[in-house]
C-alpha cells in the first residue's frame, strides 16, 4: 500500500495553475527526490502533502488519511509526516534540546522524561549531543538544520518531507546535513526531498521526479534519468544545476 497517494491533484493560486492533474503513489521506504526549474511547483507539491497548502481538485491520502478530512484528521495526518524547511524554522526561544522535546510533549503527550530521552537520542544521531543546550542563534546553519531534522523525527513520523533543506546553507555546511539525510535514508525512512543536490539524488535517491510546468514530466530511476535525460527540458535543467 502506498504511503502517499495523489489522485488527480490540481492546485491553483488564483488563476495560476501550479499543480496540474497529478496522480502518483509513494511506497514505504522510497527516497523520492523532486527536482524542477524554479517556479515549477515542486515546493508546492511537497507542501500539499502535509496540508500547508490546500488543493482545489482531487485528493491526497497520507497513511490512510485524506487532506480533505476534518481539522482533527488533518492534524493526525501531519503527525505522520515530519517536515524540514529551507529556513530551519527552529523555535528561537528554546534550546536545541527543548526544540526536539517540543513535538513529543505537545503532540504525543509524552512526559518530560520520555521526551528528554527521545531528544537526547536523536541529537546524538545527528551529531549534536554536545551542543544541545545552545539556542538556535548560537548554532551554525548546518547545525540548526540538523536540529530541525531531529525535531521532525521526534514525533515519530512515517515519512519525512524536506523542502530544499540545504539551499540556505554555505557549501561547506551542506555536507553535514546531506550526511544525516543519507543515514536516515539508509535506515529505511520514506523520504520526499525537494532539492537541487543532483549528487544526492544520484547516490541516495531511489526515484526521481522532474516537475515542469505543474506536471510530472519524468518519473524514474535517478541514475538513468540523470545520465541519459530523455527530454531537452531535463537536459537543459541538469546543465544549469550541475
Amino acid at each position: 500500500m502506498s504511503i502517499v497517494e495523489f489522485h488527480h491533484v490540481t492546485k491553483r493560486f488564483g488563476q495560476n495553475v501550479v499543480l496540474d492533474d497529478i496522480s502518483l503513489g509513494i511506497e514505504p521506504g522510497e527516497v523520492v527526490v523532486v527536482v524542477g526549474p524554479s517556479g515549477s511547483g515542486k515546493s508546492t507539491f511537497l507542501r500539499c502533502i502535509n496540508v500547508l497548502e490546500t488543493i482545489q481538485e482531487g485528493d491526497i491520502v497520507v497513511g490512510g488519511l485524506s487532506v480533505k478530512g476534518t481539522p482533527a484528521q488533518v492534524r493526525e495526518l501531519r503527525r505522520e509526516a515530519g517536515m524540514v524547511f529551507q529556513q530551519f524554522n527552529l523555535f528561537p526561544q528554546l534550546t536545541a534540546l527543548q526544540n526536539v522535546m517540543f513535538g513529543p510533549v505537545h503532540t504525543r503527550n509524552a512526559s518530560k522524561k520520555e521526551a528528554h530521552t527521545i531528544a537526547v537520542d536523536l541529537l546524538e544521531k545527528v551529531g549534536l549531543a554536545e551542543r544541545m543546550h545552545h539556542f538556535p542563534n548560537e548554532l551554525s546553519g548546518g547545525q540548526q538544520q540538523r536540529v530541525a531534522i531531529a525535531r521532525a523525527l521526534a514525533i515519530k513520523p512515517k515519512l519525512m518531507l524536506f523542502d530544499e533543506p540545504t539551499s540556505a546553507l554555505d557549501p561547506e555546511l551542506r555536507f553535514e546535513v546531506l550526511k544525516v539525510m543519507q543515514d536516515l535514508a539508509h535506515s529505511g525512512m520514506t523520504m520526499v526531498v525537494v532539492t537541487h543536490e543532483m549528487d544526492f539524488a544520484r547516490r541516495v535517491g531511489s526515484r526521481l521526479l522532474f516537475i515542469d510546468e505543474g506536471k510530472i514530466a519524468h518519473d524514474g530511476v535517478p541514475e538513468e534519468l540523470i545520465s541519459n535525460p530523455p527530454s531537452q527540458r531535463l537536459q537543459n535543467f541538469l546543465q544549469h544545476v550541475t
Partner: protein, 279 residues
C-alpha cells in the same frame, strides 16, 4: 515670588490620596485593557475581514434583524405588573442569542473580527475626554443606570487602552516569522497551542517597548478624568490650589509625582527587557 516648600508639605496628604487613586485607576484600567487588547489583537490578526461598505451594511443589517426578531417574539407573558421586561425574558433573549450564534457559527469569527475593527476605529478616532464624558454623562441617559466616577474612569481606561494594546499585539504577532507557525502546523499542533507555545513567546518580547509606552500614556491620560471629578492626582492638585493659590508649588509637586510614577514604569520595563534573551 518665593517657593514655599511648606505649601507642598501641607498638601502632601491629599496629594498622596490623589496618587493612590491615580495608581488604582491606572492599574485596573491597564489590566482590563491588556485582557481586552490581547483578545481583540488576536482576533484582528488571525481573522481578516476588510471593513468595506458591503460588510458594514451586512453587520448593521444583521443587528437590526436580530433586534427586530426579538421584538417580534411576544414576551408579553413574561412582563411584570409595571410592564418591565422580567429577568426571565432577558434570559430567554440571551438563550436566543446563543442559539443564533451556534446556528451561524461559521460567521461568528467574521462578526467578531468586524466588531473588533470597528471598536478600534471608534476608540482610536475619538478623544479620551469625550469617551469618559460619554460614559459618565450620556450612557446613563441611554441605558438608565448611573455609574460612579471611579468606575466610569476605570471603564474608559479599559476600553481606551484596550484599543491601542490590540494594535500593539497585532503588530507583534504579525512580526513573528510565518515559518514558525508552519513548523507548528507541520507537527500537527492545534492553533491555540501554536499561538501559546510558539508565537506568543516570540511576540511577547517584541511587545514590551510599545507596552511600556502604553502604560505611561494611560497613566498620564488618567489626569483627564478631572473632567468628571474623580479625585485623582491632577484633580487633587487643582482643589488644593483653589484653596491656597500656590500654583507653582502644587503643580510642580504634581508633575514630580507623575514623573516618579512614569519613571518607575520605565525602570521596571528596562529590567524586564534586560532579563530577557533577545531573539
Amino acid at each position: 515670588m518665593t517657593f514655599e516648600w511648606s505649601a507642598i508639605w501641607d498638601a502632601l496628604p491629599s496629594l498622596m490620596d490623589g496618587t493612590k487613586m491615580t495608581i488604582y485607576i491606572t492599574s485596573l484600567g491597564l489590566l482590563g485593557g491588556a485582557i481586552l487588547g490581547f483578545i481583540t489583537g488576536v482576533i484582528t490578526t488571525y481573522i481578516r475581514v476588510p471593513v468595506t461598505w458591503r460588510n458594514s451594511a451586512l453587520a448593521i443589517g444583521a443587528v437590526v434583524l436580530f433586534i427586530a426578531a426579538l421584538n417580534w417574539i411576544d414576551f408579553g407573558f413574561l412582563q411584570d405588573d409595571q410592564g418591565n421586561i422580567s429577568t426571565w425574558s432577558k434570559l430567554l433573549a440571551l438563550i436566543l442569542l446563543i442559539a443564533a450564534a451556534v446556528a451561524l457559527r461559521r460567521y461568528v469569527g467574521v462578526a467578531l473580527s468586524f466588531i473588533a475593527q470597528l471598536y478600534i476605529l471608534i476608540i482610536r478616532g475619538t478623544p479620551i475626554v469625550v469617551q469618559v464624558m460619554f460614559i459618565y454623562f450620556a450612557l446613563p441617559m441611554l441605558v438608565g443606570w448611573r455609574i460612579d466616577g471611579e468606575s466610569a474612569a476605570i471603564f474608559t481606561l479599559v476600553i481606551n487602552s484596550g484599543a491601542y494594546i490590540a494594535e500593539i499585539v497585532r503588530g507583534a504577532l504579525q512580526s513573528v516569522p510565518k515559518g514558525l507557525q508552519e513548523a507548528g502546523q507541520a507537527m500537527g499542533l492545534p492553533f491555540y497551542k501554536i499561538l501559546i507555545f510558539i508565537i506568543a513567546p516570540v511576540a511577547w518580547r517584541r511587545m514590551i517597548p510599545a507596552m511600556g509606552n502604553q502604560c505611561i500614556i494611560s497613566l498620564k491620560d488618567s489626569s483627564l478624568f478631572i473632567v468628571i471629578g474623580v479625585a485623582e492626582l491632577t484633580r487633587q492638585g487643582q482643589e488644593i490650589i483653589a484653596s491656597n493659590f500656590r500654583s507653582v508649588e502644587i503643580w510642580a509637586a504634581v508633575a514630580v509625582i507623575y514623573l516618579i510614577l512614569t519613571g518607575f514604569i520605565a525602570l521596571v520595563l528596562k529590567l524586564i527587557e534586560h532579563r530577557m534573551r533577545v531573539i
